[in-house]
C-alpha cells in the first residue's frame, strides 16, 4: 500500500526555483503560467494497516517530512480520492 505526501512552499514564502522555471517556460513560448511553485513528492510503501498508521504518519509529515514554518503538506492515504 502506497501513501503519498505532497509538500509545497507556503503562499507567503518566495519560491525562486518556481520563478526560474516559469521564466524558462516563457522562453519556450508558453506564457500561460501565472505562477509555478515547486514542492516535494514522497511515496511511502507501507507495511500493515494504513488506517492504523495514519496518526503516526501525520505526525511524521508535520515533524520531519515538512517544515511547518515554510511548507504545507498533504497526506494522501490509499483509499482517498484526490
Amino acid at each position: 500500500m502506497k501513501v503519498k505526501v505532497i509538500v509545497t512552499p507556503k503562499e507567503t514564502v518566495l519560491d525562486p526555483q518556481g520563478a526560474a522555471v516559469r521564466e524558462a517556460m516563457q522562453h519556450l513560448g508558453f506564457s500561460g503560467a501565472r505562477e509555478v511553485r515547486i514542492g516535494r513528492y514522497l511515496e511511502i510503501d507501507l507495511e500493515g494497516d494504513p488506517v492504523e498508521q495514519e496518526p503516526k504518519l501525520r505526525e511524521l509529515c508535520h515533524d520531519l517530512l515538512s517544515n511547518p514554518v515554510i511548507e504545507d503538506y498533504r497526506l494522501e492515504m490509499p483509499n482517498e480520492k484526490k
Binding site: P9, T12, L14, L64, N67
Partner: protein
C-alpha cells in the same frame, strides 16, 4: 572552559571550529559525535557548518533528530550557550530552538564570499563589548541561507532585540545590495528570547586569523568565553 563541537555525518567545519576555539586562551575544546546522548560537563556547545546528512529532505531536517539533539535542546533550555554556524543555524531552526527557517538563496546561486555584518545588539553573550554598529567581516558559503520568518515572528524578533547581525555594506548601511542571499530584513544571525542560543549563516570559525582575511570571527568566540567566565565568577 570546555566547549563541545558536535559532529554530524557531513559536518565539514568542525575542524575550523576546533582550531578557532583552541586558539583562545583558557579554552579546551573537542568533538562530540552525534550518536552521543549527553553534553553534560561542557560549558558551551557549537553546531558547526557543513552538509549534515547531505542536506537531504531539507538542510538540517535529519540532523535535528540525531541522538545528541535531545541533549542540545535540554542544555539550551537550561541556559547553556549554544552557537550554530551555517548548517548549525539551519539545524537550530529545524529543531525549533530558533524561530524562522533558512530557505534557498533568492538568487538560486551558492554564495561563497566575504560579507560585512553589522552588530545590532551589544549585550548578547555573543557580542559583548561590541557596540551597536560594530562591523564584522566574515565569510559566507551556503546555498540555503535566505532567512525567512513570518511577519509576526519578525516583529517579535525586532521588538525583543533578537536580531544580532545584519548584512550591510562596508560603511555599515543595511542595504539590499549588501544582502548575499535575500534574507528578510538582511538578517544574518539571530538569538532566542533567552539570548543563550545564537544562529548565524556567516562563519566566524573561518575568520579567526588575519591570514584568513579577517580575524573578526574571533571576537564572537571571545565574547562567548568572556560571558562564560563572568557567569562562573558570579556563581
Amino acid at each position: 572552559m570546555k566547549i563541545a563541537i558536535v559532529q554530524f555525518p557531513g559536518s565539514n567545519c568542525d575542524q575550523d571550529c576546533l582550531a578557532a576555539l583552541r586558539g583562545i586562551d583558557g579554552v579546551e575544546s573537542d568533538y562530540v559525535w552525534h550518536k552521543e546522548t549527553s553534553l553534560h560537563g561542557w560549558d558551551a556547545i557549537v553546531l558547526p557548518g557543513g552538509f549534515s546528512y547531505g542536506d537531504y529532505l531539507r538542510c538540517g531536517a535529519i540532523a535535528r533528530f540525531s541522538p545528541i539533539m535531545r541533549s542540545v535542546v535540554e542544555e539550551a533550555r537550561s541556559g547553556k550557550l549554544v552557537i550554530g554556524i551555517c548548517n548549525g543555524f539551519q539545524i537550530l531552526c529545524e529543531a525549533g530552538l530558533l524561530p524562522g527557517a533558512l530557505v534557498r538563496n533568492r538568487s538560486l546561486h551558492f554564495v561563497c564570499q566575504m560579507v560585512t555584518t553589522r552588530v545590532e545588539v551589544s549585550d548578547s553573550p555573543f557580542t559583548r563589548g561590541m557596540p551597536v554598529g560594530t562591523l564584522l567581516r566574515l565569510p559566507v558559503a551556503h546555498g540555503e541561507g535566505c532567512y525567512y520568518a513570518d511577519e509576526r515572528t519578525l516583529r517579535d524578533l525586532n521588538e525583543r532585540q533578537q536580531v544580532i547581525l545584519r548584512y550591510c555594506d562596508s560603511s555599515g548601511r543595511v542595504a539590499p545590495e549588501a544582502n548575499p542571499n535575500g534574507s528578510v530584513q538582511n538578517i544574518a544571525g539571530i538569538c532566542n528570547a533567552d539570548r543563550n542560543v545564537f544562529g548565524l549563516m556567516p562563519h566566524p570559525d573561518r575568520a579567526c586569523e588575519e591570514r584568513l582575511g579577517s580575524s573578526d570571527g574571533r571576537r564572537i568566540f571571545e565574547s562567548m568565553i568572556g560571558s562564560l567566565v563572568r557567569d562562573q565568577a558570579a556563581a
